[in-house]
């Protein structure tokens, strides 16, 4: 008889204990980030969509050669010192965001950017981005996602 009542009491007590715990949790602040309106912090070294500085580029093709999946397509006009860049296209259906194109660049004109949300409404959109046609982000001080961090000297970490 004693153990029966003890069991009943312990049942009541542990139920109350568990409910007290959830009651406390009810008043904690939700950790949810309401995504499209709010965004979480990203490291300045986040490997998102590339950012390109076309006026720095010397058309050396080192990035295209470094690319393990051959997704960078470069076209130029003229030859030697008068050469002009006409196409700098990255095929994002191939790109694996490895940042290997960043390291070999002798003039630091290609960087990994902050834009991670690459979803689109049309299948064709944003698959191949030609930076020379202004389809992709050009990096300046203003467009840098973390202007307070400045432009990293070597953005290829």
């Amino acid at each position: 008889m004693k153990t029966y009542l003890e069991k009943v009491w312990s049942g009541v007590r542990t139920t109350a204990k568990g409910m007290a715990l959830t009651w406390r949790h009810f008043f904690t602040k939700p950790v949810t980030v309401q995504y499209p309106e709010e965004k979480t912090y990203f490291s300045p070294y986040e490997r998102g969509l590339h950012e390109f500085e076309p006026d720095k580029c010397i058309i050396c093709y080192l990035c295209a050669k470094a690319c393990p999946v051959d997704c960078i397509k470069i076209e130029e006009e003229g030859a030697g010192k008068t050469a002009r860049l006409t196409t700098y296209e990255i095929d994002y259906s191939k790109c694996l965001f490895c940042a290997l194109c960043i390291d070999p660049c002798p003039v630091d004109c290609i960087h990994m950017g902050q834009q991670y949300d690459l979803s689109t409404y049309e299948r064709g959109d944003q698959v191949k981005i030609d930076f020379m046609k202004g389809e992709g982000p050009w990096r300046t001080k203003q467009t840098s996602a973390h202007p307070e961090a400045g432009l990293p000297e070597d953005s290829g970490v």
Partner: protein, 366 residues
């Protein structure tokens, strides 16, 4: 309600019509009103459940559809209506089709006798409490029909558990309601509330230790017969997919869902009416006037929502029982305790008779 109907029926063009027709139309209108009100309320309870669950898990919960997500149930309803209505090839067709209607009927019929405020009751019956307990048992054949007709082992296992559980928990539920029947001396729910008016200690839950314990026993047994967690064995997702409504889709599933949530509202209302003073705010206040009864209605709703919150809170706190533990709790804990409460309350009433005076009146319950 009867006086209102008489008044309305004898005024204007309605006086020309046969009285029986007017009464039938009035009854249909009352049915429709209750159905609409309870369905909308059930939708909001689903929203409340999801929001509270979210907050208890440090999430936010649905907040996109309408202000604070209040219209989420409409979006869910439209989604369910757009789904394909599947009847399994091997199912027992007529039984399969009739089962959700029976479950739905059981959950809704009892609202006819629920006093939402002074005079705000569709059918003021002198067997109200009995009718509530009887109507909620109608769900049992509906559930076993659904489980059997689905021709699925998950469904039949779920419905067997459900029936075992509901039939067992009818006993502590009925016996702890008997405590109030003894105190009140009536089964008419409006009269039961009327006897709890005045100060807060007039509420039946606070009239002595036995009624207080009976309140918790009744609420626990109600949770079990609602198959809410921690007694949600019949639809234990991790074992039985969804229990007896595994094979139901689209609107038929929505009907089961609606029935479940309106049964929640029903049992909260019954608990409020029996134990927590109905429309009594806890201090003497006359709520019988034509306008004041709507204040009473608001008080009843506030108390009901408090109890619904507790149900949701329990669900998101406690883990599911094992089926033999559910039966243990019913037969070895709730049943003896509720019988002890009935005996205790009978003695308390005798003591009240012996003592007399205001305190004796309080002990007697009327």
């Amino acid at each position: 309600m009867q006086q209102w109907l008489d008044q309305i029926a004898s005024s204007g063009f309605l006086a020309e019509l046969p009285r029986g027709l007017v009464y039938t139309l009035g009854a249909l209108l009352a049915c429709k009103l209750i159905l609409l009100f309870v369905s909308l309320l059930a939708g909001e309870v689903v929203w409340l459940e999801r929001r509270v669950a979210g907050r208890m898990q440090a999430r936010i919960g649905p907040n996109r559809v309408g202000p604070q997500g209040l219209l989420q149930f409409l979006a869910d309803g439209v989604k369910l209506l757009a789904k394909e209505d599947i009847i399994p090839a091997e199912a027992d067709r007529p039984t399969f089709l009739v089962a959700p209607i029976i479950v739905f009927m059981g959950a809704f019929a009892a609202f006819a006798v629920m006093p939402f405020g002074y005079g705000l009751v569709a059918a003021d019956m002198n067997v109200g409490l009995f009718l509530v307990l009887a109507m909620t048992s109608i769900e049992v054949p509906g559930v076993i029909m659904a489980g059997w007709a689905s021709n699925s082992k998950w469904a039949i296992l779920g419905s067997m558990r459900e029936v075992a559980q509901m039939v067992s928990y009818e006993m502590p539920l009925g016996i702890s309601a008997l405590v109030i029947a003894l105190l009140a001396g009536t089964l008419n729910l409006s009269d039961i509330v009327a006897q709890q008016e005045g100060w807060v200690w007039n509420w039946y839950a606070l009239r002595g230790p036995f009624a207080f314990v009976a309140f918790f026993l009744f609420f626990t047994a109600a949770l079990a017969s609602l198959k809410r967690a921690p007694f949600d064995l019949p639809e234990a997702e991790s074992e039985l997919v969804a229990g007896f409504h595994t094979e139901y889709t689209g609107f038929r599933f929505a009907v089961f869902f609606l029935a479940e949530y309106s049964a929640m509202i029903l049992f909260s209302l019954v608990t409020v009416v029996l134990f927590l003073g109905g429309w009594s705010p806890g201090f003497p206040l006359d709520l019988t006037g034509p306008a004041a009864r709507w204040i009473g209605f608001a008080i009843v709703m506030a108390k009901t929502f408090a109890l619904l919150f507790v149900m949701i809170w329990v669900r998101w706190s406690l883990p599911r029982y094992r089926i033999d533990k559910v039966m243990y709790l019913c037969y070895k804990v709730l049943l003896p305790f509720s019988v002890a409460c009935v005996v205790g309350v009978a003695l308390q009433i005798l003591l009240g008779h012996a003592l007399g005076g205001a305190f004796g009146q309080w002990l007697m319950g009327r």
